[in-house]
Subunit: 232 residues, 2 copies
DNA sequence: GTCTATACACAGATAGAC
DNA sequence: GTCTATCTGTGTATAGAC
């Protein structure tokens, strides 16, 4: 599978995400007309990502957000009760997208080797599709309030769990080498993160998302697949 | 080489770093007595890392810093001209430690395989020794002002360059496989970062810095070393 | 549903006593 | 060299007109 095929299968736009957020938070959002609310939420998220990417969420003022969205301060406060809640909405939604979609991807294959490939690539492709969400959730995870932090940590753990289980299962089937699979899973996650954290580097190097994902799979397989006897 | 041996060779304490900063910024620091200045700088850095780790530098107020250091607001401003300058001092010094020491480490060996091992492990060990510095410089790199950003970016690039050169050189000698070495170097850096960015995860898993570094070297060598003919 | 005007707390920074 | 007291701008958030 390459990125193009992936996009066809899992395509959902930023508009769709905004709609999801609207439906999940209909009680706290004071605007009731779906079309208006969804469109404005989309503008708000986009602006938060843009400003947040440059200087971080804490350094973004509500006036910055007002300027970037073209909405007034008063209007903004009809979409969330405060700056902290806005952060919470984005964080929890970002992580839940990630968790849900990766779970779904992992269920499309049975063979451990195929499953490992698809889960690794799927994560990279997903992070390409929703890069601002991934970048933001990673960089701003610290700022989330303790209540939500627990949920966020558990979602982060569950994505690593998926990888670990594949490695364990593959070892049992004699396909993968034995080893510290938790540690390997952590390393894989680190490399996946590289794509959305340092995206600018790979644009400069002219590395496409497909090349990146393939390279990553190559590294993991070189390490994990059992070598033929007599080989080093 | 393991972490213990590394520490013996490259040991310098947080006090030493504070002294270095003092000597480099003697003109802008209003306190002239070395002993006092160095001790207070050390306290300040420690406090910045502690608060910054929890909520980020932007969210840290000077009053937070005053409370944590036990120094008054007025005193703090005798050590730097403002919050922005303090950030700049920490950032540029953090990156320069990293660059200088890695350069030094890479010069201790000639054979590409040995050199690769030592540079990879050295980075991990260095980040263990100066973890707060590494974490902080990574997470707060965005907040640095444009003038300093250029310097920071170039230092980051140079550490990746060291890895790339080793891989290229090893390929020429027939020790390493051909491939996109820039890309591989980026992946290695990503895994190295994992250690200081997600340190809590590995403490929970009971993974030591030596185990982590060895695992990382294992992954890289499995991918990079030329396989014997007939092997996959 | 969106706007302008404004309340009020807190930020960064400084002056000047000790 | 360190402190307390204070200035001034900016931050988040709200009230109420349109």
């Amino acid at each position: 599978m390459n990125y193009k095929e992936f996009k066809k299968l899992y395509a959902s736009s930023s508009r769709d995400i905004a709609r999801e957020v609207f439906l999940n938070n209909q009680d706290s959002i004071q605007i009731k007309k779906e079309k208006t609310a969804v469109a404005n939420l989309e503008r708000i998220f986009e602006a938060v990502f843009s400003i947040g990417y440059k200087k971080g969420y804490q350094a973004m003022s509500m006036r910055d957000l007002s300027r970037e969205t073209g909405m007034s301060l008063g209007s903004l406060y009809h979409y969330f009760s405060g700056k902290e809640e806005l952060l919470g909405i984005i964080q929890t939604h970002g992580w839940s997208i990630m968790k849900r979609d990766l779970q779904q991807i992992s269920e499309t294959h049975e063979d451990p080797r195929e499953k490992l490939r698809i889960v690794i690539k799927g994560h990279v492709f997903l992070s390409e599709l929703f890069r601002p969400w991934f970048y933001f959730t990673f960089m701003e995870a610290r700022s989330v309030k303790p209540t939500e932090l627990k949920a966020v940590k558990s979602m982060e753990g569950s994505t690593q769990q998926i990888l670990t289980e594949i490695l364990v299962c593959g070892e049992e089937q004699g396909i993968f080498m034995p080893g510290n699979h938790e540690l390997t899973a952590g390393m894989i996650k680190a490399m996946q993160q590289e794509w959305y954290l340092k995206r600018w580097k790979y644009r400069k190097l002219n590395v496409s998302v497909d090349q990146f994902a393939e390279h990553l799979v190559g590294i993991v397989e070189a390490f994990c697949l059992v070598r033929e006897p007599g080989c080093q």
